[in-house]
């Protein structure tokens, strides 16, 4: 069953068409990758799905519900969480606070109960903390939970971003270049990490990635974008042997 579907999504900035009639379908339980050269419109596509941009035309469907034009916070509430290409942690706050903030959307008491520490709020806060402790434990971040997030090593910041996204209790997780800036060893670790997380939390994963080893290893299906156009889709094997994909990537290499 498809959990996420985009129908002819177009995103234009002035005269520039960043994404042109994007048709993507992600099924429940899959890991789907979105690849393509730099500037192909991958992150723009993510931004259209998560509500950061409102598509110029087309529709985005999540669990068969039209979410086009909804604000990012509403879309997150429905069950889509994301990470960012250029890590966007709450830099001055601790690891624990970062994760707790992502739990805020489930809070069902108002600010007065929270401030006056009424029983409902106390209970909610304790439960929230327990859930976060457990999450950090499972993701191996317990040791650093009281550290300021920007003081963590780079790899751990990436983990924390995923932890924070998971804290929103998503059904669909969007990862924007989770392995960016990682060495092969770290990338291998991340590959295993994504798999475990996906199974443990019964997620569907949709990710943008440049590390082909990672992509080919864990993706069920792959979409390839170039200059805003979808130039290929299929299983890792099909993509590896696709002429247009090879051309697009080689073309980039020639330019470089």
């Amino acid at each position: 069953m498809s959990i996420l579907k985009t129908e002819n999504v177009v995103m234009q900035f002035g005269g520039v068409v960043a994404v042109d009639s994007l048709n993507i379908e992600v099924n429940e339980g899959e890991i789907v990758a979105l690849i393509g050269p730099n500037g192909a419109g991958k992150t723009t596509a993510f931004n259209c799905i998560t509500g950061v941009y409102i598509p110029t035309s087309g529709r985005v469907l999540f669990e068969d519900q039209n979410i086009t034009g909804k604000s990012p916070d509403k879309i997150t509430k429905l069950g889509i969480a994301r990470t960012f290409q250029n890590i966007r942690l709450f830099k001055d706050l601790t690891v624990m606070e970062n994760v707790l903030i992502a739990k805020h959307l489930h809070v069902n008491y108002n600010f007065l109960s929270a401030t006056l520490r009424l029983p409902k709020a106390l209970y909610g806060e304790r439960q929230m903390k327990n859930e976060c402790e457990e999450l950090l434990e499972r993701l191996g971040l317990t040791a650093v939970k009281n550290e300021i997030s920007s003081s963590l090593p780079y790899g751990m910041q990436r983990h924390l971003e995923i932890a924070r996204a998971l804290a929103t209790n998503p059904k669909l997780l969007l990862l924007d270049e989770p392995a960016a800036g990682m060495n092969p060893h770290e990338t291998d670790e991340l590959t295993a990490f994504i798999k475990t997380v996906k199974d443990d939390y019964h997620l569907t994963v949709f990710m943008i990635e440049h590390h082909m080893d990672l992509v080919m290893e864990i993706s069920d299906r792959i979409y390839v974008l170039d200059f805003g156009q979808t130039i290929a889709k299929g299983t890792p094997d099909e993509i590896q042997n696709n002429d247009r994909v090879i051309q697009a990537y080689l073309g980039v290499q020639e330019d470089a």
Partner: protein, 297 residues
């Protein structure tokens, strides 16, 4: 209301509007380059008025020399303000720069109060500018005609500088993309100084005409015009020089016409600019001539 009074009010509106426009250009130029509201701009206008007062009324220097000196001195003041209060904070959080700008503004106001006292001073009179003449039953001060003419002339000079000279090209480059301009070898600090200099010089011209028009100057005289001219710049589309002029005219006309047609609301004269600002920001935040910008994620 007769046709004559209407024409009278209309010319007043245009005249006030072109004063706003001159000052608004300074805001829009600085914003275009540094993305900063130069809160002190209105107070630079006030300082220019005092320079002129001292030149003519205290030191008895001929007015044409004084005027030239005032423009140069004010341009220098603008450059000094940028060097001391903004340059050191170039890479600081935006809040810090904004607070620094507020600080400079407040400092200039308090300095003027301290040095020149808070008591209003009479700006030197220019009879040939203020003695009205009659056109078809409408009494018009020469000043009312001179102000828009000067504004339009200066606008053309400025557009020439920006579009046809090397300095102008550098300014446009810096305002499009600060970092890239720096990497391309443009001497950023020089361009920014020039921007502050030109903006402040125009403000000085505005101040001279302001002084002639209202004939009384005091340390807080720059505050309200300062805020209104910033609003004018926003209405026209901040960063856009023609927009600033357009915004200035709109604001000047709106203000005069409100007073003329709805005299009972005269007390709200200073509020109208803010009301227009809020409406513009809600429905067309990029201003009338501005371009839409998208945040990069």
């Amino acid at each position: 209301m007769t046709m004559a009074t209407f024409m009278q009010q209309l010319t007043n509106g245009i005249s006030l509007g072109s004063l706003y426009a001159l000052i608004a250009i300074g805001y829009t130029m600085v914003y275009g380059i540094l993305r900063l509201i130069n809160f002190a701009h209105g107070d630079i206008v006030m300082m220019a008025a005092y320079f002129a007062f001292f030149g003519i009324a205290v030191f008895h220097i001929p007015w044409y020399i004084t005027f030239l000196a005032v423009v140069l001195l004010t341009a220098l003041l603008g450059i000094v303000v940028e060097r001391t209060a903004y340059r050191t904070l170039r890479d600081a959080p935006r809040t810090s720069i904004l607070i620094s700008a507020i600080g400079v503004s407040f400092l200039l106001e308090n300095l003027a109060t301290y040095l020149f006292s808070g008591i209003p001073k009479a700006f030197p009179e220019f009879k040939f500018m203020t003695t009205p003449f009659s056109v078809g039953g409408v009494l018009i001060q020469p000043l009312v005609v001179v102000v828009p003419v000067v504004t339009i002339l200066l606008l053309f000079v400025l557009l020439f500088i920006i579009n046809k000279t090397r300095l102008g090209m550098a300014m446009r480059a810096v305002s499009k993309d600060y970092e890239t301009a720096r990497l391309m070898g443009i001497e950023i600090n020089g361009v920014i100084s020039a921007t502050f200099g030109i903006g402040s010089g125009l403000a000085a011209v505005g101040a001279l005409m302001w002084g002639m028009k209202y004939s009384s100057i005091q340390p807080l005289m720059g505050v309200m015009p300062g805020l209104k001219c910033f609003i004018a710049a926003v209405i026209g589309g901040i960063g856009n020089i023609k927009g600033a002029v357009l915004g200035g005219f709109i604001l000047g006309l709106a203000e005069i016409l409100l007073v003329a047609f709805l005299p009972s609301l005269t007390g709200y004269r200073d509020a109208i600019a803010f009301i227009i600002l809020i409406i513009i920001l809600l429905f067309r935040p990029m201003g009338i001539l501005g371009e839409k910008q998208t945040d990069k994620v």
